[in-house]
């Protein structure tokens, strides 16, 4: 039996196809853009193609993410927090704390062994604790987003950033460039800044091991290192971290079909 999860993120739309609630058959993503419906269809078709399946093979589709109410194909939906917990515990059963940093949202949650959420905190009001902060800073530094992490790892100096706000931080980065600080050191300051914001959110709900990171920002090794240092604990990045929410939704779809 095939189920699907669609994660309608603020920026990207992710689709996971799951067999019998156990085996991932395909993953695909597409930039949401202006036509989220079209983008979802595209991602869905790409996933079907990868798995060699047809639409009719998919028994149940569950959506999640900021735009979950408007997901095509979906029969029902699950909250982002619920999907993240379910997905993370499936991938790594020892997961008790999930930190999920998406493009426009950062969240942290604690869950039990069954992937049931115990407590959580979300920041969706302020870009300073979300992926868009990194994008703005990469733009101000005139480097590609993917370069920001590796640059930061080469830093030799710690320079503080005063600004919290992404808008003010952009001006501050420009000032730091003018003051002849190296791009490496500025990139590190940027990582320290976002990690500090997320750390204070994590401390609010508390954490228990294992702590896992999911969402697009988890792919940034410098951010992961800074989080480890801040929390003084091991932080594990799950495989395919940006698909964990969609996987969680596909698992919920399987649950809803009575798959054990």
């Amino acid at each position: 039996m095939i189920t699907a999860g669609i994660d309608m993120g603020a920026k990207n739309i992710k689709v996971v196809l799951l067999e019998d609630g156990r085996k991932v058959r395909a993953r695909a993503q597409e930039l949401g853009g202006t036509d989220t419906r079209g983008a979802t269809e595209k991602a869905f078709n790409a996933a079907l193609f990868q798995a060699g399946l047809k639409m009719a093979d998919v028994l149940h589709v569950t959506s999640t993410g900021a735009g979950r109410a408007n997901a095509p194909y979906a029969r029902d939906s699950v909250t982002e927090v619920g999907a993240a917990a379910r997905g993370a515990v499936f991938v790594h059963p020892a997961t008790r704390t999930v930190i999920d940093i998406g493009a426009e949202e950062g969240k942290t949650l604690r869950c039990d062994a069954a992937g049931k959420v115990i407590d959580f905190a979300v920041n969706e009001k302020c870009a300073a604790g979300a992926g868009s902060f990194m994008e703005s800073m990469a733009r101000a530094l005139e480097v590609k987003l993917e370069q920001l992490g590796p640059l930061s790892m080469k830093s030799t100096n710690t320079i503080p950033m005063n600004a919290q706000c992404a808008v003010f931080a952009e001006s501050e980065v420009v000032t730091l460039v003018h003051q002849k600080h190296s791009k490496e050191d500025i990139a590190k300051a940027v990582h320290d800044a976002i990690a500090d914001r997320i750390t204070s959110m994590v401390r609010k709900v508390g954490f228990e091991n294992d702590v896992v990171l999911i969402g697009g920002v988890a792919k940034n090794p410098a951010f992961v290192e800074t989080m480890k240092r801040n929390l003084q604990t091991e932080v594990k990045v799950l495989d395919e971290p940006e698909y964990v929410g969609a996987l969680g939704a596909a698992l919920v779809a399987a649950d809803n079909e009575g798959v054990k």
Partner: protein, 288 residues
């Protein structure tokens, strides 16, 4: 170079009526803000000349440049100025200042001069912060609240929108009223997210003016919540660059249910005026 829509007019001014030579005190106030720098010169506590320009990457240079421009075309020179007070974000970096005073104190004092002694609440809307100040009939600060952590509700936020919508910042207010119907405010607080939201509205076919209206009213509401926390007592004055944006001011008036006082001069120079008045007091007390 491409047009920079956020960039407002820089200018200088000299009083046609006042001669500094007969004055007992000639004082200078320098307000080096994060975005703009004002140099205000007063003769016996009356406005003699000022300049209003963008702050550059160096505070000392911005202050020097502002002074030079304020003095331009006058026969006044720095050595004839009895006392100079620096204020604003870069107040400790004014090379020719004798003393620094906080911008909270200066805006309250400046508002007292520019809007009259009946002012009890001053909202200073700066480039990178926003302060709500309660003061007495002498322009002395009683209490204040400040947001300097978040660009929402600051001039910088409005600049971002002017640039996004390609509308000269000085036209934002006027254009924001050219709508058939007042739209709901932009729902995101964060300027970064509000930008994304606005791009979505434009793609959904909203005209620019309607998006401006939605952002002006979001900003007015953001400021309203700050004012609500400190409480507004009449008279109510707004200083800083946003005071010149009718799109925000009129919507805020509506939300507060009261009218904003009219200034004697450009509300953006209030901090500099306050600083020059502190300098005057110091001269009179013989402390200069």
């Amino acid at each position: 170079m491409a047009q920079e829509f956020w960039r407002w007019n820089e200018y200088r001014w000299t009083s046609p009526d006042i001669d500094w030579k007969g004055a007992r005190s000639v004082t200078c106030g320098v307000d080096v803000g994060s975005v703009s720098t004002q140099v205000v010169i007063m003769a016996d506590g009356e406005l003699y000349a000022f300049s209003n320009q963008r702050t550059g990457s160096s505070s000392p240079e911005s202050a020097e440049r502002g002074l030079k421009w304020a003095l331009e075309g006058t026969d006044l020179t720095l050595d004839k100025i009895h006392y100079t007070v620096g204020t604003g974000y870069g107040r400790v970096n004014v090379p020719f200042a004798n003393r620094a005073v906080t911008e909270i104190a200066c805006h309250a004092r400046g508002a007292n001069f520019m809007y009259g002694p009946t002012v009890r609440t001053v909202l200073d809307m700066g480039g990178q912060d926003c302060k709500a100040i309660r003061c007495d009939e002498k322009g002395k600060v009683i209490s204040f609240l400040m947001n300097d952590k978040c660009a929402a509700g600051t001039g910088r936020g409005m600049e971002v929108f002017a640039e996004l919508l390609q509308v000269p910042i000085e036209k934002v207010g006027e254009l924001s009223f050219q709508v058939d119907q007042e739209p709901a405010p932009v729902s995101s607080t964060c300027v970064v997210f509000a930008k994304t939201e606005a791009s979505g509205l434009l793609r959904a076919g909203w005209p620019k003016n309607k998006v401006l209206a939605a952002y002006c009213s979001a900003m007015a509401h953001r400021i309203f919540t700050l004012l609500e926390r400190i409480g507004v007592e009449k008279d109510f004055a707004i200083t800083g660059g946003i005071a010149k944006n009718s799109g925000v001011v009129k919507r805020l008036e509506k939300e507060l249910g009261l009218t904003v006082a009219a200034p004697k001069a450009d509300p953006q120079i209030a901090g500099g005026v306050g600083a020059a008045l502190f300098a005057k007091t110091l001269v009179e007390k013989g402390k200069a």
